[in-house]
Protein backbone atom coordinates (compact mmCIF):
# COMPACT_ATOMS: atom_id res chain seq x y z
CA UNK A 1 0.00 0.00 0.00
CA UNK A 2 0.97 3.62 -0.25
CA UNK A 3 1.41 6.20 2.49
CA UNK A 4 -0.96 9.12 2.97
CA UNK A 5 0.11 12.70 2.28
CA UNK A 6 2.59 14.45 4.53
CA UNK A 7 4.85 17.49 4.48
CA UNK A 8 8.51 16.54 4.28
CA UNK A 9 11.14 18.48 6.19
CA UNK A 10 14.77 17.84 5.35
CA UNK A 11 16.45 18.73 8.63
CA UNK A 12 19.39 21.11 8.33
CA UNK A 13 20.62 20.93 11.93
CA UNK A 14 19.56 19.65 15.33
CA UNK A 15 18.26 23.15 16.15
CA UNK A 16 16.13 23.02 13.02
CA UNK A 17 14.70 19.66 14.13
CA UNK A 18 13.91 21.03 17.58
CA UNK A 19 12.10 24.08 16.23
CA UNK A 20 10.03 21.89 13.87
CA UNK A 21 9.18 19.57 16.74
CA UNK A 22 8.24 22.56 18.94
CA UNK A 23 5.86 23.74 16.23
CA UNK A 24 4.39 20.45 14.99
CA UNK A 25 5.25 18.00 17.83
CA UNK A 26 2.22 15.76 18.10
CA UNK A 27 1.56 15.77 14.35
CA UNK A 28 5.16 15.09 13.41
CA UNK A 29 7.40 12.05 13.30
CA UNK A 30 11.14 11.87 13.12
CA UNK A 31 12.29 9.91 10.06
CA UNK A 32 15.56 8.11 10.84
CA UNK A 33 16.19 4.90 8.88
CA UNK A 34 12.51 4.56 7.98
CA UNK A 35 12.73 0.77 8.31
CA UNK A 36 9.85 0.69 10.78
CA UNK A 37 8.21 4.07 10.16
CA UNK A 38 7.80 3.89 6.37
CA UNK A 39 6.52 0.30 6.64
CA UNK A 40 3.90 1.54 9.15
CA UNK A 41 3.05 4.47 6.88
CA UNK A 42 2.66 2.16 3.88
CA UNK A 43 0.10 0.23 5.91
CA UNK A 44 -1.45 3.54 7.03
CA UNK A 45 -0.99 2.49 10.63
CA UNK A 46 0.51 5.94 11.15
CA UNK A 47 -0.31 9.06 9.16
CA UNK A 48 1.85 11.92 10.39
CA UNK A 49 1.27 15.42 8.97
CA UNK A 50 5.01 16.18 9.06
CA UNK A 51 8.05 14.00 8.60
CA UNK A 52 11.31 15.44 9.85
CA UNK A 53 14.15 13.60 8.11
CA UNK A 54 17.30 13.42 10.24
CA UNK A 55 19.03 10.77 8.13
CA UNK A 56 21.24 13.30 6.35
CA UNK A 57 22.45 15.16 9.44
CA UNK A 58 26.21 14.71 9.76
CA UNK A 59 26.18 16.03 13.33
CA UNK A 60 24.10 12.97 14.31
CA UNK A 61 26.35 10.39 12.63
CA UNK A 62 28.95 10.04 15.37
CA UNK A 63 30.00 7.27 17.71
CA UNK A 64 32.07 8.76 20.54
CA UNK A 65 33.80 7.32 23.57
CA UNK A 66 33.74 9.63 26.59
CA UNK A 67 35.35 8.22 29.72
CA UNK A 68 33.31 5.24 30.74
CA UNK A 69 30.67 5.26 28.07
CA UNK A 70 30.16 5.00 24.34
CA UNK A 71 27.67 7.42 22.82
CA UNK A 72 25.80 6.52 19.63
CA UNK A 73 24.08 9.43 17.87
CA UNK A 74 20.65 9.33 16.29
CA UNK A 75 21.55 8.89 12.62
CA UNK A 76 24.10 6.09 13.10
CA UNK A 77 23.01 2.97 11.23
CA UNK A 78 23.03 -0.52 12.68
CA UNK A 79 25.62 -1.52 10.04
CA UNK A 80 27.91 1.25 11.29
CA UNK A 81 27.46 0.24 14.93
CA UNK A 82 28.47 -3.37 14.18
CA UNK A 83 31.60 -2.21 12.31
CA UNK A 84 32.69 0.53 14.75
CA UNK A 85 36.02 0.02 16.51
CA UNK A 86 34.74 1.60 19.77
CA UNK A 87 31.81 -0.79 19.83
CA UNK A 88 33.96 -3.83 19.10
CA UNK A 89 36.30 -2.87 21.89
CA UNK A 90 33.83 -1.89 24.60
CA UNK A 91 30.37 -3.19 23.70
CA UNK A 92 30.84 -6.66 22.33
CA UNK A 93 27.29 -7.59 23.32
CA UNK A 94 26.08 -5.32 20.50
CA UNK A 95 28.42 -7.06 18.05
CA UNK A 96 26.75 -10.37 18.94
CA UNK A 97 23.18 -9.09 19.04
CA UNK A 98 22.91 -6.62 16.15
CA UNK A 99 23.55 -9.02 13.27
CA UNK A 100 20.15 -10.47 14.27
CA UNK A 101 18.40 -7.16 13.55
CA UNK A 102 16.65 -7.58 10.21
CA UNK A 103 18.96 -8.11 7.27
CA UNK A 104 22.12 -6.72 5.66
CA UNK A 105 19.80 -4.56 3.50
CA UNK A 106 17.75 -3.09 6.40
CA UNK A 107 20.76 -2.57 8.68
CA UNK A 108 22.31 -0.34 5.99
CA UNK A 109 19.56 2.20 6.76
CA UNK A 110 17.96 1.34 10.09
CA UNK A 111 19.43 3.23 13.04
CA UNK A 112 20.28 2.05 16.53
CA UNK A 113 18.57 5.03 18.18
CA UNK A 114 15.51 4.71 15.91
CA UNK A 115 14.96 1.24 17.27
CA UNK A 116 15.34 2.48 20.86
CA UNK A 117 12.81 5.26 20.13
CA UNK A 118 10.45 2.78 18.44
CA UNK A 119 10.68 0.47 21.47
CA UNK A 120 9.45 -2.76 19.95
CA UNK A 121 9.49 -5.36 22.75
CA UNK A 122 10.81 -8.03 20.33
CA UNK A 123 13.70 -5.90 19.14
CA UNK A 124 17.28 -6.72 20.11
CA UNK A 125 18.33 -3.09 20.55
CA UNK A 126 16.01 -2.03 23.39
CA UNK A 127 17.04 -5.26 25.13
CA UNK A 128 20.75 -4.39 24.86
CA UNK A 129 19.99 -0.83 25.97
CA UNK A 130 18.18 -2.15 29.05
CA UNK A 131 20.65 -4.83 30.11
CA UNK A 132 23.67 -2.57 29.58
CA UNK A 133 21.99 0.11 31.72
CA UNK A 134 22.18 2.82 29.05
CA UNK A 135 20.90 6.39 29.03
CA UNK A 136 18.71 8.19 26.51
CA UNK A 137 19.65 11.80 25.72
CA UNK A 138 16.52 13.81 24.81
CA UNK A 139 16.61 17.37 23.52
CA UNK A 140 13.87 19.92 22.96
CA UNK A 141 13.66 23.69 22.87
CA UNK A 142 12.87 23.38 26.58
CA UNK A 143 16.28 21.85 27.30
CA UNK A 144 17.98 18.48 27.65
CA UNK A 145 16.97 15.44 29.71
CA UNK A 146 18.98 12.29 30.28
CA UNK A 147 16.87 9.28 31.23
CA UNK A 148 18.04 5.86 32.38
CA UNK A 149 16.82 3.00 30.18
CA UNK A 150 14.48 1.90 32.98
CA UNK A 151 12.83 5.34 33.02
CA UNK A 152 12.80 5.74 29.24
CA UNK A 153 11.20 2.40 28.38
CA UNK A 154 7.61 2.55 29.56
CA UNK A 155 5.93 -0.27 27.62
CA UNK A 156 5.03 -1.80 24.27
CA UNK A 157 6.07 0.74 21.58
CA UNK A 158 5.98 3.38 24.32
CA UNK A 159 8.67 5.56 25.84
CA UNK A 160 8.94 8.59 28.11
CA UNK A 161 9.85 10.81 25.13
CA UNK A 162 7.63 13.90 24.84
CA UNK A 163 6.26 14.92 21.44
CA UNK A 164 8.66 17.85 21.11
CA UNK A 165 11.76 15.85 22.01
CA UNK A 166 14.45 14.39 19.76
CA UNK A 167 16.37 11.38 20.99
CA UNK A 168 19.76 12.80 20.03
CA UNK A 169 21.87 9.89 21.25
CA UNK A 170 22.07 6.84 23.44
CA UNK A 171 24.91 6.39 25.93
CA UNK A 172 26.02 2.91 26.88
CA UNK A 173 28.47 2.19 29.71
CA UNK A 174 31.49 0.19 28.57
CA UNK A 175 31.24 -3.48 29.42
CA UNK A 176 33.53 -4.75 32.13
CA UNK A 177 36.22 -6.63 30.14
CA UNK A 178 36.47 -9.42 32.71
CA UNK A 179 32.73 -10.10 32.69
CA UNK A 180 31.33 -12.63 30.23
CA UNK A 181 28.26 -12.13 28.10
CA UNK A 182 26.12 -14.11 25.73
CA UNK A 183 23.10 -13.50 23.52
CA UNK A 184 20.65 -15.85 21.85
CA UNK A 185 17.28 -15.46 20.25
CA UNK A 186 14.60 -17.76 18.93
CA UNK A 187 13.14 -16.83 15.53
CA UNK A 188 11.45 -18.73 12.73
CA UNK A 189 13.81 -17.31 10.12
CA UNK A 190 17.10 -15.40 10.12
CA UNK A 191 16.37 -11.68 10.47
CA UNK A 192 12.90 -11.96 11.97
CA UNK A 193 11.96 -10.20 15.17
CA UNK A 194 12.71 -12.38 18.19
CA UNK A 195 10.02 -14.64 19.63
CA UNK A 196 12.24 -14.73 22.71
CA UNK A 197 15.62 -12.98 23.01
CA UNK A 198 17.91 -13.44 25.99
CA UNK A 199 21.07 -11.59 26.92
CA UNK A 200 23.20 -12.37 29.96
CA UNK A 201 26.14 -10.61 31.56
CA UNK A 202 28.05 -12.77 34.04
CA UNK A 203 30.33 -10.73 36.28
CA UNK A 204 32.10 -12.84 38.89
CA UNK A 205 29.32 -14.74 40.65
CA UNK A 206 26.69 -12.18 39.63
CA UNK A 207 24.25 -12.73 36.82
CA UNK A 208 22.32 -10.03 35.01
CA UNK A 209 19.71 -11.40 32.63
CA UNK A 210 17.58 -9.51 30.13
CA UNK A 211 14.60 -10.98 28.27
CA UNK A 212 12.97 -9.49 25.17
CA UNK A 213 9.98 -10.62 23.12
CA UNK A 214 7.87 -11.79 26.04
CA UNK A 215 6.67 -8.87 28.20
CA UNK A 216 5.65 -5.44 26.84
CA UNK A 217 9.22 -4.21 27.23
CA UNK A 218 12.61 -5.79 27.90
CA UNK A 219 12.86 -7.03 31.48
CA UNK A 220 16.16 -7.15 33.35
CA UNK A 221 16.94 -8.99 36.62
CA UNK A 222 20.07 -9.07 38.76
CA UNK A 223 20.78 -12.36 40.47
CA UNK A 224 23.79 -11.70 42.64
CA UNK A 225 25.59 -14.70 44.10
CA UNK A 226 22.84 -17.08 43.05
CA UNK A 227 23.82 -20.72 43.67
CA UNK A 228 24.03 -22.89 40.57
CA UNK A 229 21.32 -25.15 41.92
CA UNK A 230 18.91 -22.21 42.20
CA UNK A 231 19.23 -20.98 38.61
CA UNK A 232 16.46 -23.16 37.20
CA UNK A 233 14.04 -22.01 39.90
CA UNK A 234 14.94 -18.37 39.28
CA UNK A 235 14.38 -18.81 35.53
CA UNK A 236 11.06 -20.52 36.12
CA UNK A 237 9.89 -17.71 38.40
CA UNK A 238 11.02 -15.14 35.82
CA UNK A 239 9.21 -17.00 33.01
CA UNK A 240 5.94 -16.74 34.94
CA UNK A 241 6.53 -13.10 35.97
CA UNK A 242 6.81 -11.99 32.32
CA UNK A 243 3.08 -12.53 31.76
CA UNK A 244 1.23 -14.66 29.26
CA UNK A 245 1.49 -12.84 25.96
CA UNK A 246 0.45 -15.06 23.09
CA UNK A 247 0.45 -14.29 19.40
CA UNK A 248 0.56 -15.95 16.01
CA UNK A 249 4.27 -16.71 16.49
CA UNK A 250 4.18 -18.55 19.81
CA UNK A 251 1.99 -19.53 22.75
CA UNK A 252 2.63 -18.24 26.27
CA UNK A 253 3.63 -21.74 27.32
CA UNK A 254 6.22 -21.99 24.53
CA UNK A 255 7.67 -18.62 25.51
CA UNK A 256 7.95 -19.68 29.16
CA UNK A 257 9.72 -22.84 28.10
CA UNK A 258 12.15 -20.83 25.97
CA UNK A 259 12.91 -18.50 28.89
CA UNK A 260 13.76 -21.56 31.00
CA UNK A 261 15.74 -23.54 28.40
CA UNK A 262 17.43 -20.79 26.43
CA UNK A 263 17.95 -18.81 29.64
CA UNK A 264 19.95 -21.68 31.13
CA UNK A 265 22.03 -22.03 27.97
CA UNK A 266 22.80 -18.32 27.72
CA UNK A 267 23.80 -18.12 31.40
CA UNK A 268 26.20 -21.03 30.96
CA UNK A 269 27.65 -19.51 27.82
CA UNK A 270 28.15 -16.12 29.50
CA UNK A 271 29.86 -17.75 32.47
CA UNK A 272 32.24 -19.59 30.14
CA UNK A 273 33.28 -16.27 28.61
CA UNK A 274 34.33 -14.69 31.91
CA UNK A 275 38.04 -14.02 32.24
Amino acid sequence: MKPNNFNYVRAESVDHVLSCLAEHGENARILAGGQSLIAMMNFRLVEPAYLIDISGLDELKEIKTNGNSVEISAAVTQAKVIAAADVNEHLSLLVDALPNVGHFQTRAKGTFCGSIAHSDPSSEQPLCFAILGGEAVLKSNRGERVLAASEFQTGMLATAREDDELLTSVRLPKQNPSAGHAFEEITRRQGDFAIVAIAVIADGENIRIGVGGVAGKPEVRDWDGLADSDIDDALNALAWELGDNEDIHASAKYRRQMVRRVGRRVIEEARKCRS
Binding site: M1, K2, P3, N4, N5, F6, N7, Y8, V9, R10, A11, E12, H16, G34, Q35, I38, A39, N42, F43, L51, D53, S55, A79, P99, G102, H103, F104, Q105, T106, A108, K109, R189, Q190, G191
Partner: protein
Protein backbone atom coordinates in the same frame (compact mmCIF):
# COMPACT_ATOMS: atom_id res chain seq x y z
CA UNK B 1 14.38 24.29 0.46
CA UNK B 2 13.98 22.39 3.72
CA UNK B 3 10.19 21.89 3.71
CA UNK B 4 8.46 20.16 0.81
CA UNK B 5 4.70 20.52 1.03
CA UNK B 6 2.31 17.67 0.42
CA UNK B 7 0.26 17.33 -2.76
CA UNK B 8 2.84 19.36 -4.65
CA UNK B 9 5.45 18.03 -7.01
CA UNK B 10 9.00 18.96 -6.12
CA UNK B 11 12.07 18.79 -8.29
CA UNK B 12 14.76 16.38 -7.20
CA UNK B 13 18.24 16.06 -8.68
CA UNK B 14 20.29 12.94 -8.29
CA UNK B 15 22.57 10.51 -10.10
CA UNK B 16 20.82 7.51 -11.59
CA UNK B 17 22.88 4.64 -12.96
CA UNK B 18 25.82 6.99 -13.38
CA UNK B 19 23.96 9.86 -15.09
CA UNK B 20 22.81 13.15 -13.57
CA UNK B 21 18.99 13.23 -13.74
CA UNK B 22 16.12 15.18 -12.30
CA UNK B 23 12.44 14.50 -11.81
CA UNK B 24 9.33 15.72 -10.07
CA UNK B 25 7.75 13.99 -7.11
CA UNK B 26 5.36 14.45 -4.22
CA UNK B 27 6.75 13.76 -0.73
CA UNK B 28 4.58 10.65 -0.33
CA UNK B 29 5.94 8.89 -3.42
CA UNK B 30 8.07 5.87 -2.61
CA UNK B 31 11.41 5.62 -4.40
CA UNK B 32 10.30 2.27 -5.85
CA UNK B 33 7.26 3.85 -7.52
CA UNK B 34 9.24 6.88 -8.63
CA UNK B 35 11.91 4.75 -10.31
CA UNK B 36 9.29 2.67 -12.13
CA UNK B 37 6.75 5.33 -13.02
CA UNK B 38 8.83 8.46 -13.56
CA UNK B 39 12.20 6.97 -14.55
CA UNK B 40 10.73 3.98 -16.42
CA UNK B 41 13.10 1.52 -14.77
CA UNK B 42 11.01 -1.63 -14.75
CA UNK B 43 13.83 -3.67 -13.25
CA UNK B 44 12.78 -2.26 -9.88
CA UNK B 45 10.28 -4.91 -8.80
CA UNK B 46 7.72 -4.29 -6.08
CA UNK B 47 5.76 -6.80 -4.10
CA UNK B 48 5.40 -6.51 -0.31
CA UNK B 49 5.98 -2.76 0.16
CA UNK B 50 7.02 -3.19 3.74
CA UNK B 51 10.65 -4.17 3.50
CA UNK B 52 10.31 -7.93 3.85
CA UNK B 53 10.69 -9.47 0.39
CA UNK B 54 13.69 -7.57 -0.99
CA UNK B 55 12.49 -7.47 -4.60
CA UNK B 56 12.70 -3.64 -4.67
CA UNK B 57 16.33 -3.50 -3.45
CA UNK B 58 18.48 -0.86 -5.17
CA UNK B 59 21.73 0.82 -4.19
CA UNK B 60 21.87 4.30 -2.73
CA UNK B 61 25.43 5.62 -2.50
CA UNK B 62 26.61 2.04 -2.98
CA UNK B 63 24.56 0.54 -0.16
CA UNK B 64 21.86 -2.04 -0.87
CA UNK B 65 18.58 -0.74 0.55
CA UNK B 66 14.83 -1.15 0.15
CA UNK B 67 13.42 1.38 -2.32
CA UNK B 68 9.93 0.73 -0.87
CA UNK B 69 11.17 2.03 2.51
CA UNK B 70 12.65 5.21 1.07
CA UNK B 71 10.84 8.29 -0.20
CA UNK B 72 11.91 9.61 -3.59
CA UNK B 73 12.54 13.07 -2.06
CA UNK B 74 15.23 11.47 0.13
CA UNK B 75 17.57 10.72 -2.79
CA UNK B 76 18.19 14.40 -3.57
CA UNK B 77 21.92 14.71 -4.29
CA UNK B 78 22.56 10.98 -3.93
CA UNK B 79 23.61 8.24 -6.34
CA UNK B 80 21.02 5.56 -7.07
CA UNK B 81 21.84 2.37 -8.98
CA UNK B 82 19.34 -0.18 -10.22
CA UNK B 83 19.73 -3.52 -11.97
CA UNK B 84 19.76 -1.63 -15.29
CA UNK B 85 23.28 -0.47 -14.37
CA UNK B 86 24.78 -3.97 -14.46
CA UNK B 87 24.85 -4.83 -18.15
CA UNK B 88 27.08 -2.67 -20.37
CA UNK B 89 25.75 -0.27 -23.02
CA UNK B 90 25.67 -3.05 -25.65
CA UNK B 91 23.49 -5.17 -23.39
CA UNK B 92 26.32 -7.58 -22.49
CA UNK B 93 25.45 -9.11 -19.13
CA UNK B 94 27.81 -8.71 -16.17
CA UNK B 95 29.74 -11.68 -14.77
CA UNK B 96 27.23 -11.93 -11.92
CA UNK B 97 24.27 -12.02 -14.28
CA UNK B 98 25.96 -14.64 -16.46
CA UNK B 99 26.68 -16.75 -13.36
CA UNK B 100 23.04 -16.53 -12.25
CA UNK B 101 21.97 -17.79 -15.65
CA UNK B 102 24.59 -20.54 -15.70
CA UNK B 103 23.73 -21.87 -12.23
CA UNK B 104 19.95 -21.51 -12.53
CA UNK B 105 19.92 -18.78 -9.87
CA UNK B 106 16.56 -17.67 -11.22
CA UNK B 107 13.36 -19.06 -12.64
CA UNK B 108 10.64 -16.42 -13.02
CA UNK B 109 13.17 -13.69 -12.26
CA UNK B 110 10.90 -11.55 -10.10
CA UNK B 111 13.23 -11.51 -7.10
CA UNK B 112 16.41 -11.36 -9.19
CA UNK B 113 17.03 -7.62 -9.74
CA UNK B 114 16.91 -6.92 -6.00
CA UNK B 115 19.17 -9.86 -5.26
CA UNK B 116 21.76 -8.81 -7.85
CA UNK B 117 21.91 -5.30 -6.35
CA UNK B 118 22.35 -6.77 -2.87
CA UNK B 119 25.09 -9.13 -4.00
CA UNK B 120 27.09 -6.35 -5.66
CA UNK B 121 26.93 -4.14 -2.55
CA UNK B 122 27.72 -7.10 -0.31
CA UNK B 123 30.79 -8.16 -2.31
CA UNK B 124 32.13 -4.60 -2.04
CA UNK B 125 32.17 -5.00 1.76
CA UNK B 126 33.01 -8.70 1.88
CA UNK B 127 34.75 -9.81 -1.35
CA UNK B 128 35.47 -13.36 -0.12
CA UNK B 129 32.38 -14.46 1.81
CA UNK B 130 31.85 -18.04 2.96
CA UNK B 131 28.60 -19.91 2.30
CA UNK B 132 27.05 -18.98 5.65
CA UNK B 133 27.71 -15.29 5.03
CA UNK B 134 26.22 -15.55 1.54
CA UNK B 135 23.10 -17.23 2.91
CA UNK B 136 22.79 -14.65 5.69
CA UNK B 137 22.86 -11.88 3.09
CA UNK B 138 20.31 -13.73 0.94
CA UNK B 139 18.00 -13.99 3.98
CA UNK B 140 17.03 -10.42 3.10
CA UNK B 141 15.32 -11.69 -0.06
CA UNK B 142 12.40 -13.99 -0.68
CA UNK B 143 12.44 -16.19 -3.78
CA UNK B 144 9.38 -18.30 -4.42
CA UNK B 145 10.95 -20.33 -7.22
CA UNK B 146 14.53 -21.42 -6.83
CA UNK B 147 15.30 -22.62 -3.32
CA UNK B 148 18.40 -20.36 -3.32
CA UNK B 149 20.93 -23.14 -4.03
CA UNK B 150 21.66 -21.95 -7.56
CA UNK B 151 22.10 -18.38 -6.32
CA UNK B 152 24.65 -19.47 -3.74
CA UNK B 153 26.56 -21.37 -6.44
CA UNK B 154 26.44 -18.40 -8.79
CA UNK B 155 27.77 -16.05 -6.13
CA UNK B 156 30.54 -18.51 -5.18
CA UNK B 157 31.46 -18.78 -8.84
CA UNK B 158 31.79 -15.00 -9.13
CA UNK B 159 33.77 -14.80 -5.88
CA UNK B 160 36.27 -17.31 -7.28
CA UNK B 161 36.68 -15.70 -10.67
CA UNK B 162 36.77 -12.01 -9.74
Amino acid sequence: MPQLNQETKHKINFTLNGKAVSGYTEPRTLLSDFLRQEMALMGVHVSCEHGVCGSCTVQIDGKAVRSCLTFAVQVEGRAVDTVESLADENGELSDLQIAFRKHHGLQCGYCTPGILMSVEAFLEINPKPNEDEIREMLSGHICRCTGYTGMVKAIQDVVETR
